[in-house]
Amino acid sequence: MEEQLAAEVKAKNLLRRILPETQWEQFRDTGVLEIHGSHGIYRISPCDLTRVLDAQTRQPRARVCLQLTVPAPVNDRIIAEYLLIQNDEDFYWQTANVFPAVLHNRALVEFLLSALDALLLVLLFSRLQG
């Protein structure tokens, strides 16, 4: 537990070394790192998926998940995301898993009803054959 805490502190110090002062202060005060890229505004949080907002309207565009392939403190993941977005944003999008910004309730209900329909159809066929 102490090792994990020490690792988090170390990663946070490295993040501070890397970020411009204004971005570091924003992250320290809000817990969210905001980066402006060509695909929109990225809001990177230690405890949530990265959210991408439209640069003009700030409406949610997508949620993005990128991870390191080795165990590492969460701030290391933030470092990796920050540096990749800054340097190779297209690679970031090709590699990360991208999810819709919001799953509308209506879409969810339609999906569940379709799944139920399919299930009932399978049951019906199995009864007819049996």
């Binding site: 170390k10 490295l14 990128l66 390191l68 392939t69 590492a72 540096l83 590699t95």
Partner: protein
């Protein structure tokens, strides 16, 4: 390089004093990491620039391969 402990230093050198052999060893390790899909960024003075080739004058942060989560 980034790791479970946060980060760790795998090599430190002074370009004026390091031997060519030691520099070659460090470069070889760098190339192995790059071939395995790692990233290298020069973070000296917040330059934060991705580098593909070993630069003995850079402060290099090695980042493990990333994947969608």
């Amino acid at each position: 390089m980034l790791c479970a402990a946060g980060d760790k230093v795998i090599a430190e050198w002074d370009t004026d004093e390091i031997s060519p052999d030691r520099l070659t060893e460090i470069e070889t390790e760098f190339k192995e990491k790059m071939a395995a899909g790692w990233f290298a960024v020069d973070i000296h003075d917040k330059r934060n620039k991705l580098i593909r080739e070993f630069d003995p004058d850079a402060e290099i942060l090695l980042i493990p391969r990333v994947q969608g989560g």
